[in-house]
């Protein structure tokens, strides 16, 4: 973390006002400052990104059967690769990974486009309410979502499966590939919906009217104008989500493991956390390399796509809103479908979570269970020092990661937006690159770095913060770059022309103007960090456990009630933050 402290003031020599001496001090003007800042930010990002990637590549070529990479018995080898590529397991893992990610992606795309189309382009009633229903799912962490769905649809005592049996329908096994696809698909829908509906909302209605005025029928207009215009945004959202699906271990661990379905992310995790025996960091890194390649291809395509569509386009007046399609007698049926969707995807998991947390032992839903209602799980959770530590760590890690990430993002974005130099191309790539590195790899590589390099970070919360900042910087700059691009440079220049030195311009003009962007970004990153099981699980040690890892451990040990009690608390924290976020977003618009 020490690496991040030098960034604190936006201008290096800011607080020491240089005496008007000739030479260097005088000449560090607006330009020199910008260049120093560019250099500093580039170095920090390079350290954050090149470190983990380098470590991953190096340790995938190390024989580490009995020790750490670069340990006393480790030597250079290509054995890991031949092991991995000759193992038939590798190919079934690859197949399952692709089926899982693509299946979830298709499901999320269908749900989100359907919902976005209904809410943004038709006259379905209570659109504001429906919008909230679809988006609220963001507040539930993937880990909690996975567990809740397990409680709803496992074949032993799943609540919905009990219902299926009662009416004579066959049961659905959630601990299977289709089950994982179902859960991951509807978990990804809210974010996908946000991306898609934003794209639909930004579309200029005159484009469609022009097609209509040229004699095109509605279907032709949709096929020839609407869809091509929206395609770049949709493809970008899909590729982004593809990586989300392959990088996380939460749903695959909870639903895949009991059903013996392994995907690449869980494979990386299991190689370093084997049920029996010792961790094999070399083989784990090799699987990590496969995952990196799988993520990098689509994401490099995504980057090209994004840079082609006007990424820095600023707000250009009010575009004319497209007309809404009149649903006529389908209005209320459409509304009901959306409400059912909300009940199934949001209310049901939430209710089963609360239900399970108040039961001494979970045995599905029954009326007898109501009499067994107890708050013992909450009591024991609150009495346990482990829980209070984990809650505290979650908040501290969330807040620190959000702040450091926003600071670094703001400085990087400012350099990218405001300067035309050639170094910005490199910086532009560096802030995007963390997207290429799935969470599980960042976790693995950072563990390795600080196990090998003994600087006392391992087992502290700082190693988690460092990993989370690395992972979140791409999200951070996705928020801050358009934010800064919307602030016309002349507002800063007017400050300089009024005699204000650069740090005053930042403090009095830029930061106040960016307040909604900063607030939103901070909250979004906080939510993402608090929900992230993958990184926490890779980096966890007794000293730095967080809520997500505690929930997983209790679940893994079979203590459903405690696990669910903590899930309720974690969901309350992230849902509250997410609610604030939407309020903030509305202000920003």
């Amino acid at each position: 973390m020490t690496t991040l402290t030098p960034v604190a003031p936006p201008t290096g020599e800011a607080h020491v006002r240089p005496a008007p001496r000739p030479g260097v001090g005088r000449r560090i003007g607006a330009f020199a400052q910008r260049q120093w800042l560019a250099l500093l930010v580039t170095l920090i990002l390079f350290y954050l990104i090149a470190g983990p990637v380098g470590m991953l590549v190096a340790s995938s070529f190390q024989q580490t059967g009995l020790s750490l990479p670069f340990g006393p018995t480790a030597r250079w080898t290509t054995q890991n690769y031949s092991d991995v590529f000759t193992s038939s397991k590798t190919w079934s893992v690859m197949g399952d990974t692709l089926a899982y990610a693509l299946g979830a992606l298709v499901l999320a795309t269908v749900c989100s486009i359907g919902a976005a189309w209904l809410i943004e382009r038709t006259n379905v009633p209570a659109r504001r309410l429906l919008y909230v229903i679809v988006v609220t799912g963001i507040g539930i962490p993937g880990l909690v979502y996975g567990i809740s769905w397990n409680l709803l649809l496992n074949t032993n005592n799943g609540v919905i499966n009990q219902g299926f049996s009662a009416v004579g329908l066959p049961q659905f096994n959630i601990q299977s590939l289709p089950g994982m696809i179902l859960v991951e698909g509807i978990r990804m829908t809210p974010l996908m919906f946000l991306l898609v509906s934003a794209a639909i909302r930004q579309m200029d209605g005159t484009m469609e009217d022009a097609a209509a005025a040229s004699g095109a029928r509605p279907l032709t207009t949709m096929r020839k104008v609407t869809i091509p215009l929206l395609l770049p945004a949709m493809a970008a959202a899909a590729i982004y989500q593809f990586v989300t699906a392959i990088e996380a271990v939460d749903v695959p661990l909870i639903l895949g493991l009991p059903g013996h379905i392994t995907v690449l992310s869980t494979q990386v995790y299991l190689e370093v956390h084997p049920a029996i025996g010792v961790a094999d960091y070399g083989v784990s890194s090799t699987y990590g390399m496969l995952l990196l390649v799988l993520a990098a291809g689509p994401l490099l395509a995504y980057q090209r796509l994004i840079s082609k569509s006007s990424r820095f386009a600023t707000v250009t007046g009010k575009a004319y809103r497209p007309r809404r399609i009149q649903l006529r007698r389908w209005r209320w049926p459409a509304f009901l479908v959306m409400v059912c969707y909300g009940i199934v995807t949001f209310a049901a998991p939430l209710l089963v979570m609360i239900w399970a947390s108040t039961q001494p032992y979970f045995s599905g839903f029954s009326w007898e269970g109501v009499h067994r209602f107890t708050l013992d799980a909450y009591r024991s959770v609150f009495d346990s020092p482990n829980f209070t530590n984990a809650l505290w760590h979650t908040l501290v890690i969330g807040v620190l990661t959000a702040l450091f990430t926003m600071l670094l993002s703001l400085l990087s974005s400012w350099v990218i937006v405001r300067s035309r130099s050639r170094t910005t191309a490199l910086l532009d790539f560096l802030v995007f690159a963390p997207h290429l590195i799935p969470s599980v790899i960042v976790g693995l590589a950072i563990v390795l770095i600080y196990l090998v390099v003994p600087v006392g970070l391992y087992g502290t919360i700082w190693i988690v913060v460092l990993a989370m900042v690395t992972r979140q910087i791409a999200l951070g700059t996705r928020i801050t770059t358009p934010g800064i691009a919307q602030i016309h440079a002349s507002l800063e220049e007017a400050g300089a022309a009024s005699g204000a030195p650069p740090w005053v311009v930042w403090w009095k003009i830029l930061l106040p103007l960016l307040r909604p962007v900063i607030a939103n970004g901070t909250l979004m990153i906080f939510v993402a960090v608090a929900q992230n099981l993958t990184l926490a699980l890779m980096l966890v040690a007794p000293g730095n456990s967080v809520l997500a890892t505690e929930i997983y451990n209790f679940w893994d040990q079979g203590d459903v009630a405690s696990s669910m009690a903590m899930s309720v608390i974690l969901t309350a924290v992230t849902a509250t933050a997410a609610t604030l976020l939407r309020g903030g977003e509305r202000d920003a618009l």
């Binding site: 000739p22 005088r26 000449r27 003007g29 607006a30 330009f31 035309r420 130099s421 050639r422 016309h488 002349s490 507002l491 220049e493 007017a494 400050g495 300089a496 022309a497 009024s498 005699g499 204000a500 030195p501 650069p502 005053v504 009095k508 003009i509 106040p512 103007l513 307040r515």
Partner: protein, 370 residues
């Protein structure tokens, strides 16, 4: 004494396509104390780059700039914007949306002054500045609650409140609508005349330049072509570019057929595609030389019948008449070539396809280098 001195200023943009094409090419000029100096030229001619160099927002590739006798940019020196004694008004106002009108104008005093001012000193100076732009009643308003014209006044008050050595105006009126622009022109001129602040004004609008300037610097392709007064630029342009920069003009290429010099005035007869024209000339011309003849539409008279005993009368046919309110814009055909004339609407009766006679008064026909 000159308040701003620019010497051999050059600026190159780092671009892969045209690396060696300078944005500003060896420009030197002085802005005298208390004058309004206008840089006039089409967009992309480098005038704004010069202004931004003076403001310190761009570091010039070479050359020197001094404000109030103190070098601010030179081979070994570059003073950052915030240490320069300037006031700057932008085309897009750049009024800070998160501050009130008062806070906007107070900003340079609070954060830009070397010496700390007391609260009431700041208040008095801000209010004096707001009174100057007639916004004293709006001090507590949110800056963005104001109209475009009012926001531009806030920007002006903010630029003036520190009483800078030089006021820099970067196309300050071009975002305003036509009526407001006219009004702001007068007010800006009045304020400038009253407080006698040295002003550098950058614009592409010829009438703005003619009406506001003490002197005009005419820019083209990064080069400062000439520095002249508005009157000379309009009445005695030295080049085709200067003639069109100061207003509309029609041009014909021709050959000098005869030169007369009566000791007081020199005139020449030029053969052009529309006919023989008699013209006054300032510079020396020789028989046989190829020249350009320029006439402004407002100087071309149109008669229904040929006037007698006048030079430069040509037979024409009216092809279109546009009624503009105070005037009519008339297009005519003379010997197969288009000619344009602006006449007072009052008393105008002729319509399309009428035949007419155009008269080009001798002292309004300018001979320019081809």
């Amino acid at each position: 004494m000159s308040a701003v001195t620019v010497r051999n200023l050059e600026h190159h943009y780092q671009s892969k396509k045209n690396r060696d094409r300078p944005q500003v090419d060896n420009v030197s000029f002085d802005v005298n104390s208390g004058e309004m100096f206008v840089l006039l030229g089409p967009s992309g001619c480098g005038k704004t780059t010069i202004l931004r160099c003076i403001a310190g927002l761009i570091r010039p590739s070479s050359g020197e700039i001094a404000i109030d006798g103190k070098t601010v940019a030179g081979p070994t020196k570059f003073v950052p914007t915030y240490r320069r004694d300037i006031g700057l008004v932008f085309q897009d106002y750049a009024v800070w949306p998160h501050m009130t009108v008062f806070e906007n104008v107070a900003f340079p005093l609070r954060h830009g002054s070397a010496k700390k001012l007391r609260r009431n000193e700041i208040r008095d100076q801000v209010m004096a500045s707001l009174e100057m732009v007639k916004l004293e009643k709006y001090a507590t308003r949110d800056a963005t609650a104001l109209s475009g014209g009012q926001q531009q006044r806030v920007a002006l008050a903010r630029a003036l409140v520190r009483e800078p050595a030089v006021l820099l105006l970067d196309e300050p009126l071009s975002n305003l609508d036509a009526a407001l622009r006219e009004q702001m022109r007068h007010e800006l001129r009045q304020i400038q005349q009253r407080i006698r602040i040295t002003t550098l004004f950058v614009t592409h609008d010829q009438s703005e330049a003619l009406s506001m300037a003490t002197r005009i610097g005419l820019m083209r392709d990064g080069v400062l072509e000439e520095v002249t007064t508005p009157r000379d630029l309009y009445q005695a342009p030295k080049s085709q570019h200067a003639a069109s920069a100061a207003g509309a003009a029609v041009f014909y290429e021709g050959t000098v057929e005869a030169v007369e010099d009566d000791g007081m005035q020199r005139s020449a007869r030029v053969g052009t595609p529309v006919g023989r024209l008699q013209a006054r000339t300032l510079g020396p011309v020789q028989v046989g030389q190829t020249v350009t003849v320029a006439v402004r539409p407002e100087d071309i008279e149109v008669h229904p019948a040929p006037p007698t005993d006048r030079p430069n009368v040509l037979a024409a046919k009216i092809t279109s008449v546009l009624f503009l309110g105070p005037s009519v814009d008339v297009r005519l055909e003379v010997a197969g070539h288009t000619m344009r004339s602006t006449r007072p609407a009052k008393g105008w009766t002729q319509v399309e396809d009428d035949s007419a006679y155009v008269e080009l008064p001798v002292d309004r026909v300018h001979i320019l280098p081809a």
